[in-house]
């Protein structure tokens, strides 16, 4: 049976390889939603997405449909998108303004922006002598257990306990610091338009690709070469080609052997950084004008420090990939074991000249729009990966590149010199993945034959599969093991 095969999940993850079921097994997907996505801090959105009281955006956290909403007092709440009366979804639109309060479309229960019950039609007569009413918290919309924001980026955790946001983010905070510091005003503003891409593959395949420095030369060669050819033609004609051509041609001009020169930094909780490779500090008039506004805001020395931050990608496990120098991020919303939604947003640097925004818009479009010249070929590979992993052609996914050469310093794992293509980021993500499992099956870890072995009734499992106190929860398998 499946649960016997995966009774000990640490067997699924070895230091340099991972069982394929981790990507393809629907039960493992359910468990990782419960124990990772619905526990840790997940990015909900940017504060500027909901500028006015009543503004809301729907957001998926794990399998939970949530709402991020701005209250009249300016505070942002994250609520389950569900009416406590009969379970009706409160907001059917992806975003909008709720008005002065939320009103359920079924029986007109109304709620404040923070989810507190406001009124029920004929409440006094209808509920006299019952347990229902304003004093019962179960009559209010349920809130995410914890909500915090960092430099305008809002995160929520559905678990009461756990590290505070700043501690969870740790060094990966640089993603937001770098993005905001590059704005003369010290903050960014979201562009209220989002590309939403559905990937036909497991969510982890996307995250592992983000810091995979070996793939660009292989996957994006066609675009890199074509862009390089045209870039040279433009330079010949006019002397200078727009930066967007350089962003594309770098995929070909940075040849496969050069990628080892870069570095990845791997942090606790699965977060990782890939250092920059594009050289995004050209000397064109737009950049020079922009740097002048920075010097005016920060002074020369601080400006140099800001512009010296050299990052290509920051991955905040398990759901966010940020490209701070280009002011964009991708939020990962797993929809199923083989279906993943990525939401791609970009930002304006407040106080920066318009051409700098146009530059980030160009990259945003070229890499992530439905007409992308880059992501198209990634999506093809993600799909092929998932198809291959679903086969019995092999049991393991290998993450062995430069294994054994990682350098550990104060909890950070750095790749050794000339090991930029190391699969250390994948190893780090998997290490976080397997740790989450261990900490979630604490009470009776010695009990075998169970993937969900708490002493008490397992609240994480669907009610029909919940067991009584003291019994390990043996989940039935929808299919037989091989």
């Amino acid at each position: 049976m499946l649960h016997e095969r995966i009774q000990d999940l640490s067997r699924c993850v070895e230091p340099d390889r991972v069982r394929r079921e981790v990507y393809t097994d629907p039960e493992i997907f359910e468990l990782e939603m419960q124990r990772i996505h619905e526990q840790v801090w997940i990015y909900c959105g940017h504060e500027s997405q909901v500028p006015k009281a009543g503004d809301y955006y729907t957001v998926q956290i794990g399998r939970q449909p949530m709402l991020m909403v701005r209250g009249a007092d300016g505070r942002i709440s994250v609520l389950y998108n569900r009416c406590p009366h009969r379970g009706n979804m409160m907001c059917g639109d992806r975003h909008g303004n709720a008005g002065d309060f939320f009103r359920c479309s079924y029986h007109a229960w109304t709620f404040q922006h923070d989810g507190t019950l406001r009124s029920i039609p004929m409440m006094e007569s209808g509920y006299a002598g019952t347990r229902y009413g304003r004093d019962n918290p179960d009559c209010s919309m349920k809130r995410a257990a914890r909500v915090e924001s960092y430099r305008g980026f809002v995160f929520a955790s559905l678990a009461k306990d756990g590290p505070a946001l700043a501690e969870f983010l740790g060094a990966s905070r640089v993603a937001f610091d770098d993005m905001c510091d590059r704005a003369p005003a010290g903050e960014v503003e979201i562009v209220p338009n989002c590309f939403r891409v559905i990937q036909h593959s497991n969510w982890k395949i996307f995250l592992e690709n983000q810091l995979d420095a070996l793939h660009p030369s292989v996957v994006h060669q066609s675009t890199g070469r074509a862009a390089h050819e045209v870039e040279k033609q433009i330079e010949k004609r006019t002397g200078r080609a727009p930066l967007s051509y350089h962003m594309l041609s770098a995929f070909a001009t940075v040849t496969i052997d050069k990628w080892d020169n870069f570095q990845t930094l791997n942090y606790p909780y699965g977060h990782c950084i890939l250092t920059g490779y594009m050289g995004l500090r050209p000397k064109d008039p737009d950049t020079v004008a922009y740097e002048k506004t920075l010097i005016k805001a920060y002074g020369k020395q601080r400006t140099e420090e800001i512009l010296a931050v050299n990052i290509h990608h920051v991955l905040i496990y398990p759901g966010l990939s940020v490209q701070s120098p280009l002011q964009q991020l991708r939020a990962v919303r797993p929809l199923g074991v083989d279906r993943t939604l990525t939401e791609i947003w970009h930002f304006r640097l407040k106080g920066a000249p318009e051409p700098i925004y146009r530059r980030s818009l160009a990259y945003y479009n070229l890499v992530n729009s439905p007409a992308t010249l880059i992501n198209a070929d990634d999506l093809e590979n993600f799909w092929k990966c998932h198809q291959g992993l679903a086969s019995d052609g092999g049991d393991w996914v290998s993450f062995g590149r430069h294994h054994g050469h990682d350098i550990e310093k104060d909890g950070t794992v750095e790749t050794a010199p000339n090991c930029g293509t190391s699969e250390a980021p994948m190893r780090n993500q998997m290490s976080s993945f397997s740790t989450a499992r261990r900490t979630c099956s604490t009470a009776s870890a010695g009990r075998t034959g169970s993937i969900c072995s708490r002493r008490t009734a397992c609240t994480g499992c669907p009610p029909t599969r919940r067991t009584s106190t003291g019994t390990a929860c043996r989940r039935s398998s929808p299919r037989t093991a091989t």
């Binding site: 939403r196 066609s222 074509a226 050819e229 033609q233 051509y245 439905p370």
Partner: protein
């Protein structure tokens, strides 16, 4: 709604070269398409011989075993040449422009 295909001649050149590269993984094999264009209305007619035409379209695309459908409206700026009308500008507004997409469009619809 930002334009996803607002490309000048140079960028169009990159796109064409890339699609025809043998390692454009998502573009092999190349697709077959079929367009149905209807409700054609000439909106503007300039003395220089340029016209602005609006129409509706439905496009079917085949790649491997998958059939996809796209629909929306076209706006064409057509220029009169000695060989007849030629496209100067084509704008496509897809009906599902704001929805999540599980596809990519690599060539002009």
């Amino acid at each position: 709604m930002p334009s996803i295909f607002a490309e000048d001649r140079n960028l169009m050149d990159v796109r064409m070269k890339r699609v025809l590269h043998p390692d454009a993984w998502s573009q092999r094999p190349l697709w077959g398409t079929n367009h149905v264009v209807s409700n054609v209305v000439i909106q503007k007619n300039s003395p220089k011989g340029e016209i602005e035409v609006r129409s509706r379209f439905h496009m079917m695309e085949l790649r491997r075993d998958d059939v996809r459908h796209f629909a929306g409206s076209y706006t064409h700026h057509l220029k009169k040449t000695k060989d007849g009308f030629r496209i100067k500008l084509q704008r496509v507004d897809m009906t599902n422009a704001q929805a999540a997409y599980d596809y990519v469009l690599q060539v002009w619809v």
